[in-house]
């Protein structure tokens, strides 16, 4: 099997996994909400309501599709497509596990190991806003436009603090921007120079502040509560997707869950060692290489599922911000904190060497 064929299969598998996780995130969201509010949640479709996402999908497909007469038809259709496209694009640079090895041939579990991986993620994130803006404007509806405008200003504001918090991580990664190298570097060396657990040299132990800033920004970028002002029901009906129905609405809602999944993966890769797990070197000596690789994939997905759960936990715990509070938090709190974090990291690295 040539590497190209393997990459093609990997792309397909990642696509299906993203969609599958997004579908079951909707189920998980309801179950988590039910758990936090002391209810039962969906339990009718299949055992424990496990078929609920499929039922929802069928419902979405079968509903009547309405395109408003006054809308810009082309852009109205393009909006959800662009949003979905940008949501799916980031998964290309994430290293999903240690490389597999069959018959001397090494297969990297990463679609594209480009040497600007982190910048690619930031670039795609910054494109995500177009889906919302175009959809919101093309609807020709005041609420949709307000939602779109809110989304774009919110995402631009939080991108800055997000990029700044990533710079502190990049300073520590020996000058590489490749996500694969950043993850690999978190699997070698001793934590703080003396705690010797293999695969535990995670960035979060060096960059707790950077992690918190990145996490808050990830919430804002994915438009999740407490920063879901673009679609706040109590103020804007549905925000940017007020006019959407049927599967176009489905695409918007779905892409939000894919964004959540991908940003969880990026958080895991940048701060929580990606596919590294404690004792990865020891397991490498007693188990075959490919088994360790599969365990590493499972470790990464474990981290991702934890962060998806965290996203939901926060959603059902913290109320929505007001818009001026959101802007003040982004510009006057997170941004200076991120810059101070970069300065401290740089000073410490210069003073102590690496």
């Amino acid at each position: 099997m040539s590497v190209l064929v393997f990459k093609a299969i990997l792309v397909l598998v990642l696509f299906l996994i993203s969609l599958g996780i997004a579908a079951y995130s909707t189920y998980a969201e309801r179950k988590v909400a039910a758990f936090l509010q002391d209810r039962i949640g969906p339990d009718r479709a299949g055992p424990f309501g496990l078929l609920q996402p499929i039922a929802d999908g069928v419902k979405m497909f079968l509903k009547e599709e309405i395109i408003p007469n006054v809308s810009d038809k082309l852009l109205f259709i393009a909006g959800p497509c662009i949003f979905m496209l940008t949501a799916l694009m980031t998964s290309a640079v994430i290293p999903w596990g240690k490389a597999l090895e069959f018959g001397g041939q090494i297969y990297n579990l990463q679609v594209a190991d480009i040497n600007i991986g982190v910048l690619y993620v930031l670039g795609v994130v910054s494109l995500g806003v177009y889906g919302i803006m175009i959809g919101g404007w093309a609807s020709n509806n005041k609420y949709a436009l307000l939602g779109a405008v809110r989304a774009s200003s919110q995402m631009i504001s939080y991108e800055l603090a997000m990029g700044m918090s990533v710079i502190a991580v990049l300073l520590m990664s020996n000058g590489t921007l490749s996500l694969n190298d950043i993850v690999a570097s978190q699997g070698t060396g001793k934590l703080y120079g003396f705690i010797d657990i293999s695969g535990m040299n995670w960035n979060v132990f060096y960059q707790p502040l950077g992690f918190i800033i990145f996490l808050v920004c990830a919430f804002a970028e994915t438009n999740r509560t407490p920063f879901d002002l673009p679609e706040s029901e109590s103020e804007l009906i549905g925000g940017f997707h007020t006019e959407y129905s049927s599967m176009k609405l489905g695409l918007y809602l779905f892409a939000e869950y894919i964004n959540m999944f991908i940003s969880s993966a990026v958080i895991a890769c940048l701060f929580f060692g990606g596919y590294n797990f404690p004792g990865i070197d020891y397991l490498g000596t007693v188990l075959p290489h490919n088994v360790v690789s599969i365990i590493s994939v499972a470790a990464l997905f474990g981290k991702i599922f934890f962060f998806i759960f965290f996203f939901m936990w926060v959603r059902w715990t913290i109320p929505r911000f007001r818009y001026d509070q959101l802007m003040r938090l982004g510009w006057q709190v997170l941004m200076p904190l991120a810059i101070i974090n970069v300065l401290i990291t740089g000073a410490v690295l210069t003073y102590f060497g690496n």
């Binding site: 480009i114 774009s152 200003s153």
Partner: protein, 167 residues
């Protein structure tokens, strides 16, 4: 080499066509969107020249930030054909004159240009972040610092303009 040449011609055609659509679109929103397509094709040119870093920074800065703000402004202004201000003949004449003069300068510059044979830079030489960074902080340190001073001046200017006057 045939393949990269084919990709180059496709990208070049896309750049020129999208740039033309920017000018000829009746709807300002479509103009902005075509400009975004144009920026993407230019980022593609950067990648063809092995300048990955430049390409992604181009996308982040221009398509990701500046064009979003531009789209934002156009959407809020709600420009459309009915509200387009009618420009007087004098304005149109001045626009044609200045545009024609710019074209004259460009044509003159193009005539005196020596077209050398193009050599694709090697992978190790250009484009990667390390090399761009090294160049910026050694050979081009002064221009780099001057640019940052310029940016700070622009930022302070924007803050001053946006601030309400206190009476």
């Amino acid at each position: 080499m045939m393949n990269s040449q084919l990709i180059f011609f496709m990208l070049a055609a896309l750049s020129i066509l999208s740039a033309l659509f920017v000018v000829f679109s009746k709807n300002p929103i479509y103009s902005v969107l075509w400009l975004i397509v144009c920026f993407f094709s230019i980022a593609g040119h950067y990648i063809m020249l092995n300048a990955q870093f430049l390409a992604i920074v181009h996308i982040i800065v221009y398509t990701g930030a500046i064009m979003v703000l531009m789209l934002f402004t156009v959407m809020l202004l709600n420009l459309n054909k009915e509200s387009e201000p009618h420009k007087s003949v004098m304005y149109k004449g001045a626009a044609v004159l200045t545009g024609g003069m710019l074209m004259l300068v460009l044509l003159a510059a193009m005539r005196s240009t020596q077209l050398g044979t193009y050599v694709a830079p090697g992978r190790a030489e250009t484009g990667f972040v390390q090399n761009v960074g090294l160049k910026l902080f050694t050979d081009f340190l002064l221009p780099f610092e001057m640019t940052s001073v310029l940016f700070i001046a622009a930022m302070i200017g924007a803050v001053v303009l946006a601030k309400k006057e206190v009476h």
